[in-house]
């Protein structure tokens, strides 16, 4: 299946140059053709979509080119939940060969069925990711994502097999045994969450295994948000190079997009997953380069295709040919979740913007709280941050010095948010540590 007609030095690390380096015209044509087919397919096989399209007075014939995608209805997480378990499945059960379920924090999980062809496409996309990272048939590759209902483990596993490297299905269980295998077998690649990679590093320290004792050289990290600082730390401690992998089970699983050697955004497998960026409030498509909500349409999926699925992830798209030779569009780092968007004085504010400013100043701990209120019909934003113990030095023996630090943060916030925020400095460890982004916001404007 691998295309080798176009091999040169650049394409050595490209699994499928025919698709990954396609001209833009050819790609648009292919996407248009596949969109027509998928709309026709769901119209006849998924009552949910047929009803939606009929309500909007759209017939499959109305969809001719990829641009026509703008006329199609959106699909949300709620739609998937409301149609639990198999309401959005398009293929008959006899064609479904695997089912994954994504954990829902509330209510029903999302059930996704895959046909044999879907598993093939997924493995192909995964092989593209791994090849971009530099994985070859010579590698011994450990999959340390959870195996099971979660798409990470099996998704990566099938990709490694498809590529032809040796897969070690380690899972997330026995970390010490896993490390022994990493060392004794000379495992060269690993796929896991970035936090598990750090846990591996900690366990190595505990066991006295040095990075010189192991041969790991490539890490495929995803399934949770991570920062450049985490990347540096993991690379330093495990002695490998870390690459981003992105995906979501509603669309496929890991392999929707992947970093190449340039590490300037993640290339989207857009012959299978068509991306759009929309304004989460107006739902209007946004031009390339602007940050908004990422939306995917599966162009080839048979089991459970989705039209314009709203991921809630906020990012921007970077078009143009990459220095690696690929032409498929890249997505930037996930900047936040659209659920978290606040509208303050008419301006869209994301807690993640505040986070990036706070993280950029070593004086503050990486914890913060946004307090939004309305005073005399005017929205107010207060940002609480904790001063870091190490940065509270002898110069802070007067309120004037503290005020200066507050002003420095306020100025940075203003330049990033475009609205002014009042900074309130808090003592160390007084802001609650929290998991979800929404836990960083108190909105008192209940009118």
């Amino acid at each position: 299946m691998r295309d080798s007609t176009n091999l040169n030095t650049k394409t050595e690390m490209i699994w499928n140059p025919n698709k990954e380096c396609m001209s833009r015209d050819e790609m648009s044509e292919l996407q248009g053709k596949r969109l027509r087919k998928i709309v026709e397919y769901v119209y006849h096989n998924v009552p949910f979509y047929r009803n939606k399209l009929q309500e909007m007075d759209i017939r499959p014939d109305d969809i001719q080119t990829i641009e026509d995608i703008r006329n199609l209805p959106f699909t949300t997480k709620k739609d998937l939940r409301d149609n639990y378990p198999f309401g959005l499945q398009a293929a008959p059960q006899s064609e479904i060969i695997r089912v994954h379920a994504s954990s829902g924090t509330t209510g029903n999980p999302t059930i996704v069925g895959y046909t044999r062809k879907d598993i093939g496409v997924w493995s192909e996309c995964m092989a593209r990711c791994l090849t971009a990272y530099g994985v070859t048939r010579e590698d011994i590759f450990s999959v340390a994502y959870g195996y099971g209902l979660f798409t990470g483990g099996l998704g990566a596993h099938y990709g490694v097999e498809h590529l032809g490297a040796s897969v070690i299905p380690a899972g997330t269980g026995n970390t010490e045994k896993h490390l022994k295998l990493i060392r004794d077998l000379g495992i060269t690649g690993i796929a896991c969450t970035p936090s598990y990679a750090l846990y591996l590093a900690e366990t190595m320290d505990k066991l006295g295994i040095r990075k010189e004792d192991i041969k790991l050289r490539i890490g495929a990290f995803g399934a949770e948000p991570w920062t450049e600082n985490m990347r540096k730390e993991i690379e330093e401690r495990l002695g490998l190079k870390g690459y981003n992998i992105y995906g979501l089970s509603e669309v496929m699983g890991p392999s929707v997009s992947y970093e190449c050697q340039m590490q300037h955004g993640s290339h989207i497998n857009e012959d299978h997953f068509f991306p759009e960026i929309i304004n989460p409030t107006t739902l209007e498509p946004l031009p390339n380069g602007q940050t908004g909500e990422l939306v995917f349409t599966t162009l080839t999926k048979e089991g459970m295709p989705v039209l314009r699925y709203r991921t809630r992830d906020l990012c921007s798209l970077l078009p143009g040919t990459c220095d690696c030779g690929r032409t498929n569009v890249r997505m930037g780092r996930i900047e936040g979740r659209s659920d978290d968007m606040l509208i303050i004085r008419g301006i869209n504010v994301f807690p993640s913007q505040v986070e990036s400013v706070v993280l950029s100043m070593p004086e503050f701990a990486p914890r913060y709280m946004l307090i939004v209120d309305r005073v005399n019909n005017l929205d107010t934003l207060q940002v609480q941050v904790e001063i870091r113990q190490e940065f509270f030095t002898g110069v802070f023996d007067t309120p004037a010095a503290v005020d200066q630090l507050e002003k420095k943060l306020a100025a940075k916030l203003k330049s990033v948010l475009s609205i002014s925020a009042k900074v309130q400095l808090k003592a160390p460890n007084t802001i609650e540590r929290s998991q979800g982004k929404s836990a960083h916001v108190i909105d008192k404007r209940k009118l």
Binding site: Q389, G394, F396, D397, P399, V402
Partner: protein, 142 residues
């Protein structure tokens, strides 16, 4: 010539000052003098105490934002006009006093202050025969 003062960031919330005082009590640290410079939302609690270096570590362990600052301590007779004389000596030398507080210890008046120029201030103290006291003296008095 300076002594250690603890500068502590405390929020204007009930319980924050108690937390600091409890931690000091727990560590068996004796408070010799203290003052608070406060704003609407927080205060800087300035503290002269026994074993300031150990006190600082103990407070850090208790998650308190604390730092050590160098301040001058001079002893003046407990009589009217003595503090004014001392301050005058500094202003005549062109030194500004960032903040100052005073207290009585065993009948002696102690003036604590920070200046924008410690070297010059030390010279003024010598030239004017002001009685600078160090941490040992303070502990002995306390």
């Amino acid at each position: 010539m300076t002594i250690h003062q603890l500068s502590i960031f405390i929020e204007n919330r009930s319980g924050t000052l108690i937390k600091v005082l409890d931690a000091l009590k727990e560590a068996n640290i004796q408070i010799i003098a203290s003052t608070i410079a406060d704003t609407a939302e927080y205060g800087i609690y300035r503290l002269i105490c026994s074993e300031p270096l150990r006190a600082c570590e103990e407070l850090k362990n208790a998650n308190v934002a604390v730092a050590l600052s160098g301040v001058f301590a001079i002893e003046i007779d407990d009589q009217p006009g003595r503090a004014a004389e001392a301050v005058k000596a500094f202003s005549e030398a062109g030194i500004s006093i960032t903040y100052m507080y005073s207290f009585l210890l065993r009948g002696k008046g102690i003036l604590i202050f920070r200046t924008d120029d410690n070297e010059k201030a030390a010279a003024v103290i010598r030239d004017n025969h002001l009685k600078s006291i160090d941490e040992n003296d303070l502990s002995a008095l306390a």
